[in-house]
Amino acid sequence: MSTPATPIWEVFIRSRSGLAHRHVGSVHAADATLALQAARDVYTRRGEGLSLWVVPSSAIVASDPADKEMMFEPTGSKIYRHPTFYEVPDEVGHM
């Protein structure tokens, strides 16, 4: 007994207008239409969203967590990119 593999789709939901679509999980489905229906049934049974995206998992290109330092560490030292790096006298008030 062996069940043939069905493609995986990543599911994204926009929960309210004005918000971005957010990853919520995945479903298995043979095609995009069925993936949308499965995502509707599995992830939006209580009005969780206004819009759904399904994306084939295989279509997503991801950074390698092993490269985390190389990818993201350089910004750690660039504190001048943050507003608090700059001195503004108290008398000037909120800026």
Binding site: M1, S2, T3, P4, A5, T6, I8, E10, H23, G25, S26, V27, H28, A29, A30, D31, L34, D41, V42, Y43, R45, R46, S57, I60, A62, S63, D64, P65
Partner: protein, 351 residues
């Protein structure tokens, strides 16, 4: 998070191992590794444990000890199987629900359980197993699920008792799992817990209605409580004293409370609810300890637990047969969907 999950999915499958009996608790919590010192033996393992101690979440593609991965695959998949098998005892009463209101609620609840199973399978898949493998293991009878679902639902009152007690026990167990160290499992449990509260409340409402009804209806509610009470206490797993090994699941923050600790919380929460219904519990030793404020209970029949876990449950064969039948009868749907998708893809390529 997503990226890590995806990367992990491309990894080779992890081998399935049949759990040992002593490891079984509600959802097979605890691998009970015999040598806790081995857990922090390597530098990676020490870093991993430091992250856990700092309440950092572990994501699928982060380094993790193999035993951590195996424990999670087993626990999450068994939890998923429990949700899927858990649809059956209640599904048994959908066509015979006493009103449209009850029927709509029961349908929604059973559908939620299917959904919970799917969230959990998706979380397990991030660890490198495939959905199909997990399903096949369940259908082949190689995977475990919560033994509570091998008890029969004899009357409508059982639907009330399951919602109130079985889902109540599940909530006790699942709330701490929302803080589990493994990110995808914790996130799935947050979704599950949000939905589970309705299950318990609708069950209690069924019990309340029966208890305010005729003498026969109240007797039916009492009978359901009598049959479900002890199996529900067993859902939390063997007593802590029976665990001979140190529990690495606690150290890894997969598990946050001991079996006995969760069981006590459940009893303390549930006994007053039963008394409000005007029902009595099938335990002559049950008494409130005025000093500790906890309800003390009589001895649990662990022989029965072992028997049911080992497949001796009244409905064990029925449950698997029902799943296999559903799977077999759905084969043509999966095949047709795959054939249609292949045809559409081929046409698109030709155009």
């Amino acid at each position: 998070m997503l990226h890590q999950e995806l990367a992990r999915r491309r990894d080779p499958m992890w081998r399935w191992e049949r759990p040992l009996l002593r490891e079984i608790s509600m959802y097979a919590q605890g691998l009970n590794q015999s040598d806790p010192a081995a857990v922090t033996a390597s530098p990676e393992a020490a870093r991993f444990q430091a992250r856990i101690d700092a309440e950092d979440k572990i994501e699928p593609n982060d380094w993790m000890p193999e035993a951590y991965r195996r424990t999670l695959i087993r626990q999450i998949s068994q939890h998923a199987h429990s949700e899927i098998i858990g649809m059956l005892p209640e599904g048994n009463w959908i066509t015979r629900a006493p009103s449209l209101r009850r029927k709509a609620a029961l349908l929604a609840k059973v559908q939620d359980e299917g959904g919970h199973g799917l969230y959990l399978y998706a979380a397990a898949e991030t660890l490198g197993v495939t959905r199909e493998d997990l399903v096949d293991q369940l259908l082949a009878g190689k995977a475990k699920y919560s033994s509570i679902f091998n008890y029969p639902t004899l009357t409508w009152a059982d639907i009330g008792a399951i919602g109130w007690l079985v889902d109540g026990a599940a909530i006790m167990n699942q709330i701490p799992l929302c803080r589990c160290s493994f990110g995808p499992y914790a996130r799935a449990m947050i979704r599950v817990c949000k939905e589970e509260s309705f299950h318990q409340r609708q069950g209690y409402e069924i019990m309340l209605t029966l208890c305010r009804g005729t003498a026969e209806q109240k007797a039916m509610a009492q009978d359901a409580l009598d049959r479900w009470w002890w199996p529900c206490l067993m859902m939390f797993g063997p007593p802590d004293a029976a665990s001979q090994h140190s529990d690495t699941s606690m150290m890894w923050k997969i598990k946050r409370f001991t079996n006995d600790g969760l069981r006590q919380k459940f009893i303390d929460a549930t006994v007053p609810q039963g008394h409000y219904l005007g029902l009595s519990f099938p335990d002559p030793a049950l008494r409130l300890n005025p000093e500790s404020g906890h309800w003390e209970h009589g001895p649990i029949d662990w022989e029965e637990f072992r028997r049911v876990v080992a497949g001796g449950g009244f409905c064990a064969a029925d449950r698997l047969d029902a799943r296999r039948r559903a799977h077999d009868e759905g084969t043509w749907v999966r095949e047709a969907a795959a054939a249609f998708a292949a045809k559409r893809t081929a046409r698109k390529e030709a155009a």
